[in-house]
Symmetry: none
Subunit: 188 residues, 4 copies
DNA sequence: GATTAAGCGAGACGGTACGTCCTGTCTTACA
DNA sequence: TGTAAGACAGGACGTACCGTCTCGCTTAATC
């Protein structure tokens, strides 16, 4: 369907491209995520893709950011241990089971080859994600459940680092027990 | 010198290929690691490569395993905290600074797209690496510095997980302070 | 200059390919007439060649037909013997000395291995060539110099067959005497 | 089966190679006549082939010469016209219908690309064949049926040329009428 | 009878070309 | 002016053969 006009880019084409990229990745893997395949699946000309995205990983990042995948907001029950466990469980599910997680893993993989993508991924996703990861801890500090002056950045790393390690490196399952063990940190 | 015959492949060609793959990756990055470039740099026919390796990532894994990259044996001074800190420092340096670490990062990235490679990488490297990572802890258990019955696997994850997370995901520097904070674990 | 678009192929690329094929054959022989060499010499992508020609012999046939190689129109002086001799001389020169003849010999050779090419070569060149070969005879019939009802097709074969035989099979020179002997046919 | 020894080449291997080449050509055409296919079909090592034949066309020529294909000896009834017609009929059948003719056409085709092969083909087959083609004419001269001093070489060309032309170039059928027309030559 | 050297089947080697796929650029006609 | 369509130059893919080589076996003449 044509949407060419003189009033800016076609939102229709944009969404079709993002959807096609997402679908192709989830269905067929990164190897078959080609610009040509996206264009064909989206019913869009290659030139339209190149006009708006510098590379296929930028498409994927856009698709990832557009998705509601960002809804990993931690709960706030006032119980630090419980809130952290619940949040880590959500993070683990995102990383290992969701479609958005598959896209995130692919983007992370590519970012290891492509510093430009790494920068974008950090700026446009990881920063916000880490802010969300910090929330339960900040609240705990505010409540006095954690000592003021605690280095929350390092604490976040020690909580989510093992999850990413399992999800991205060893591939082992992330069980409730694992999360419990990982989050037994401030009890020191 | 040719060594082609029915009784075995050419060791010369094999080593030239592994060296070329390693060099190309470190010098020019994964994007320019093509089978053709490896063949040319190694002075080898493409067919020889395809005869012995299913894909270029298999070459890279072979190169990685052949390298002295395996020399991450932890020290044994009898001081758990010091041994762990020293080992984590070596792991961090491997991950972020060494040529072998660059190869490892590329392999990890590809393994996120390729389950077959993930399986090989885990079986032929990660298992042994994790065994090395456990060593200081096992010795501590033997010495009575850690309680018998401690789940060392999870402990390993909690120690190295944050390092891999920084090295592979956030890209932040891994400082001595970071290692100190991460390894203040059994003091609980 | 690019001319690729939905409304037609690039005439520039087409001509460059035909010229390159012709040149490569005449300069280096059929053995070195590879698609890659044609593409390189023509400054054209291999895919462009495969898009428009099924095989390199089709390129060569196109080049042959495009050339002015078709200018073997026989003279018409009203003297049957002289016209035939002149025409056979031109045919012999074409077969043995011209660049176009080299292409024709190569195409004939390949057509012996490839029935599809044989069909095309006959339909798109030989038929027209034989029509030209018939012309002096048809004129002679019209003039009454040859009896009406003469089987001109067989007569053409008897005139040009020995020439092709020498040019393609025995390799012997085609002299004026030879042509004179061959064309002393209707004097019976 | 091994036949290695220090007293010369294996006749068994030689015949297997010739047979395999012949079979492959007749069954699958020249395109699939590769040294590797011949070696495999003959149960022979490639090296054995390269030891004894410079190229696959030399194998084919050997196969052709070894075959009883040479038995195109013309009859001798004392009737020039009949003898020539019978011989031309046999030549036509050889060229267009026999397996040996298929090999000959392939060799002729290749000889148009390969002067070395052309020389061999002429020296080792065509010369003898033309001698056989001359025989009826020489006998006729001896009998006085043809004038002494007739240029028999040109006469041979005028008789067989049209047959080769049809068989190799136009692909038209060679009928009895065609042969009758072609051989009505000395009646002038 | 043991030695030895040539021919052999096997098959790995460096290399070239194949025909395909995808990249990123371009041109055109349409809306 | 943005778009769908698609041809373009370029480059890597994985495959098929080329002609060369090395290997270990078999065999028959020589020691």
């Amino acid at each position: 369907m044509h949407r060419g006009n003189r009033h800016g880019r076609s939102e229709e084409a944009r969404l079709a491209v993002l959807q096609a990229a997402d679908d192709l990745l989830v269905e067929h893997g990164f190897a078959r995520l080609t610009v040509e395949a996206i264009a064909q699946k989206a019913g869009v000309a290659k030139q339209t893709i190149y006009r708006w995205w510098p590379s296929k990983t930028d498409i994927l990042l856009d698709a990832f950011l557009t998705d509601a995948a960002e809804e990993l907001a931690p709960p706030d029950t006032g119980d630090l241990a419980a809130d952290v466990r619940a949040h880590l469980t959500a993070v683990a599910r995102f990383l290992t089971e969701s479609d958005a997680g598959a896209v995130f893993r692919a983007l992370t993989a590519e970012s290891l080859h492509d510093p430009r993508l790494a920068t974008r991924l950090r700026a446009e996703h990881l920063t916000a994600q880490r802010a969300r990861d910090r929330l339960p801890l900040e609240r705990a500090v505010a409540r006095g459940d954690l000592p003021a002056g605690t280095d929350l950045d390092i604490l976040v790393d020690r909580l989510v680092g093992p999850l990413y390690y399992r999800a991205l490196v060893t591939g082992e399952e992330i069980t409730a027990d694992y999360i419990a063990a990982v989050s037994s940190l401030w009890s020191c």
